[in-house]
């Protein structure tokens, strides 16, 4: 975007310069021996990129490790690039996808920045995230209004205050924060808006959120927001949306596997690289998460 000559404010000028300079970032195209710097030969629609002079430990400069070694080996760039979306497709409740996502988030937070968890379901449990390495002092939890339909009749009594029998309710709407303000019937727009705003913020390193049905337009906005902010978006989504189009740069399918090692208390997961932008997809790994130590190890790795 050209810098307008009539821009009056110095602060805005500096910000615009910084933003434009940030666009020049190292990028690899998978070609070996990338020691030369060269200007891209692409058409005018593509961004200008400089090829990195060196590679460090097999991972390109700027790519962040997830901290899960088998997962890093599965990813073509050996990690996750800032400014991208990663979609974690999970098969039902209790699948383990969230555990992997938050473990990766704890490593993505190490360079700095805040972690934003968009929890419209109001079920995010901080003690578990703390044990997965998430720094709660740098965590912001956003709870957009949620209307969802679940099982049977409405509960009675205070939430979580007694040990009495509670039943799932048919329809539960979170009350508006003031009777003066318009109550929101649908929280989907608030959820996507909160995700977009959080991804767009340069001070946010990781955004984690649970999403459901999302159209192509809003999904593209999330991808652009991640690119603008420079953080990483980890979106947890039911696997039934696997066949729908996605603007995520990486799509991983997490399936729980029954039974662990004979003497371990861990759980097993299968992770498949469904899609990776600009790279060959495919490849499956089977992981085992040790409950005692939290270490994730791979049982079997087959490249795609």
């Amino acid at each position: 975007m050209p810098l307008h000559s009539h821009d009056p404010k110095r602060a805005e000028t500096i910000q615009e310069l910084s933003r434009q300079l940030r666009r020049f970032r190292p990028a690899g195209d998978g070609v070996a021996g990338g020691s030369e710097s060269s200007w891209p030969r692409e058409g005018p629609g593509r961004r200008c990129r400089l090829r990195p002079a060196t590679r460090r430990g097999g991972r390109e400069a700027g790519v962040l490790a997830t901290g899960i070694l088998p997962l890093d080996r599965l990813l073509p760039e050996q990690g996750i690039r800032p400014g991208t979306l990663v979609e974690w497709l999970f098969e039902g409740e209790g699948s383990g996808a969230g555990t992997l996502a938050f473990t990766a988030a704890s490593n993505l937070l190490r360079p700095g920045g805040a972690c934003v968890v968009v929890d419209s379901g109001r079920e995010f449990y901080p003690p578990a995230a703390d044990r997965l390495g998430i720094d709660l002092s740098r965590t912001i939890v956003v709870r957009p209004v949620c209307v969802r339909r679940t099982g049977r009749r409405a509960p009675t009594g205070r939430r979580g205050s007694s040990d009495g029998a509670k039943r799932e309710h048919r329809l539960r709407s979170v009350a508006p924060h003031s009777s003066l303000f318009s109550p929101r019937v649908s929280g989907a727009s608030d959820l996507l808006w909160a995700l977009e705003q959080s991804l767009r913020c340069p001070g946010v390193a990781v955004v984690v959120g649970w999403i459901d049905q999302i159209n192509s337009g809003p999904f593209r906005r999330l991808a652009l927001a991640a690119e603008t902010g420079g953080g990483v978006g980890l979106l947890l989504r039911p696997a039934k949306f696997r066949t729908q189009s996605s603007w995520a740069d990486v799509r991983l399918l997490v399936e729980p596997l029954p039974g662990g090692s004979l003497h371990s208390k861990g759980r097993r997961l299968r992770v498949e690289l469904v899609y990776c932008r600009g790279r060959m997809s495919g490849g499956t790994i089977e992981l085992e998460i040790d409950d005692e130590t939290g270490v994730v190890s791979d049982e079997d790795w087959s490249g795609g």
């Binding site: 602060a11 999970f90 555990t99 360079p111 901080p126 995230a129 508006p176 924060h177 959080s198």
Partner: protein, 505 residues
């Protein structure tokens, strides 16, 4: 006769227990409040309810308030009543205080700082009118607010009490120690005038706009609001302050009012940012006018025959454009000093945590979704899983969150990432063969689906204390189903029924 009340040793009392359930021993720490001249602190101390003239002492580092209570005591039932009321008000708000009331500033200051207090005596000493000289005699010379060097010289001369100083010839004091000793003596005894420099409350920062005719045009209202925000920001810019919370009043032609507030994480001097937050809140308003209330009554009568009426208080939603406004006003309810920040062309990674954009994001999220929906989580040492974490809004009233120490001793991953806000009742169709009543589940059904448990960890017994009233006694199990999913179930020990509490997602 002039009467002065000096209040000192004002501090916040922090009390905590030793963590053994009911408080068996308490610890106190007093954090001084008046470390520097801070007008907002003064007014938060509500001292102008006792006297219209309230000031800070001007000796050394100010740690005392001076109140001119001449002619005010009868409003509190006398000077004793005033002293008791002051002490009680401070105690009610968790503040400690010591003080003295006398005829002069010097005497009140000296007795507040150095007057002897015995156990059971009130925190504020009241010296009868005209008797301050006798009360001053036994006090140390440093109670006269003398410089340290002069006090040291007097102590070398073995002059340690004010009474000794009074018996010395004045000419000698002047020639040996300078004029300050005599000045302070005369001020304490009332022979020389001394005044309290009163602190004035800052003028409220507000901006108003009145329309010649009531309007309902949304864009015009927004433009006027933006202009008023600009005036507020300009008023504060001259002080080097930014606005941290605003209150907006929209008044209709018949006096009906709509009010809303906007808060920010950090003080802001950006007209664009504050305006954006205001307009976001404005867009969420439901406007009511007398016409709409008349319409709603009429409609309820029509609906009673054929339709199920809405609840009594349910209004008809009127489009904002039909609400007419005759006056707009914005007031800055909280301001703070702005911090300067060096602009960097290239940010470093360590700068990311302190970026101002994060504050703007929090402001935007809170304004759009509500301050209670943008939260910071805290761990809390409670056995009951629902209470093991607390939430605090990032903007707005900050309540107590309790200790920040979390649970200890639990295995690393034995807490689910998603915890149901209310445990879901499940039906256990088969339990393991066990001699005890707490057999782990083998098959259960939830949400019309059946699950078979192939592995199980537990039980983990969680009980809360009897002093809580409704205490819980649960045996928790982590189960793995035949499809590899992990859930957190519990059985209520007394009732024997089962619930699903969380998912190890």
């Amino acid at each position: 006769m002039k009467r002065v009340l000096c209040l000192t040793k004002i501090g916040v009392v922090d009390e905590w227990s030793d963590g053994k359930g009911a408080t068996t021993s308490s610890h106190y720490a007093i954090t001084p409040v008046l470390q520097h001249s801070n007008t907002p602190v003064l007014h938060r101390l509500w001292c102008q309810r006792y006297s219209p003239v309230v000031g800070l002492e001007e000796f050394g580092v100010p740690d005392s308030l001076l109140l001119d209570v001449t002619g005010c005591a009868h409003l509190f039932g006398g000077e004793g009543g005033l002293a008791r009321q002051v002490a009680a008000d401070f105690r009610l708000r968790g503040l400690s205080v010591r003080g003295a009331m006398a005829d002069t500033i010097g005497a009140a200051w000296a007795l507040a700082h150095y007057g002897r207090r015995e156990a059971g005596r009130p925190e504020i000493i009241v010296v009868p009118a005209g008797e301050h000289a006798e009360f001053l005699r036994p006090l140390p010379v440093k109670a006269l607010r003398l410089p340290a060097g002069v006090v040291e010289t007097l102590e070398k001369l073995d002059v340690r009490r004010i009474g000794q100083l009074l018996s010395l010839p004045r000419d000698g004091l002047l020639s040996r120690l300078g004029p300050e000793v005599l000045q302070r003596l005369d001020q304490a005894l009332g022979r020389r005038a001394e005044w309290i420099v009163p602190e004035r409350p800052p003028a409220p920062v507000e901006a108003r706009w009145s329309f010649e005719h009531p309007i309902s045009h949304r864009q015009t209202i927004e433009a006027v609001l933006q202009r008023l925000v600009g005036r507020i920001v300009d008023q504060l810019a001259s002080r080097g302050e930014g606005v941290q919370s605003l209150r907006v009043h929209l008044t209709g032609p018949q006096g009906e009012q709509v009010r809303f507030s906007v808060g920010m994480l950090r003080p802001s001097a950006s007209e664009a940012h504050v305006g954006e937050l205001l307009l976001t809140r404005l867009g969420q308003l439901r406007f009511f006018s007398p016409e709409s209330r008349v319409q709603s009554r009429e409609r309820r009568v029509e609906m009673s025959n054929d339709e199920i009426p809405m609840t009594k208080s349910a209004p008809i939603d009127i489009r904002p454009s039909t609400f007419v406004i005759s006056r707009l006003s914005i007031r800055a309810t909280a301001t703070a000093l702005l911090k300067s920040r060096q602009e960097e062309l290239f940010e470093t990674e360590t700068d990311r945590d302190s970026r101002p954009e994060l504050g703007l994001l929090i402001d935007r999220l809170s304004s759009q979704l509500g301050e209670k929906r943008v939260l910071r989580p805290y761990l809390y040492p409670d056995a009951q899983p629902e209470r093991a974490s607390r939430w605090q809004p990032l903007i707005g009233k900050v309540g107590r969150t309790g200790k920040k120490e979390g649970e200890k001793g639990s295995p690393a991953l034995f807490r689910p990432l998603r915890l149901k806000s209310e445990p879901c009742a499940i039906k256990v169709t088969a339990a393991a063969q066990s001699t005890g009543p707490g057999a782990p589940p083998v098959r259960f059904s939830w949400r019309n689906r059946d699950y078979t448990v192939i592995r199980c960890w537990g039980p983990e017994r969680i009980e809360t204390g009897w002093w809580r009233g409704r205490h819980v006694r649960r045996d928790y199990y982590r189960v793995e189903t035949e499809t590899g999913r992990h859930f957190w179930l519990f059985r209520r020990i007394r009732e024997g029924d089962w619930f699903l509490h969380g998912e190890f997602e």
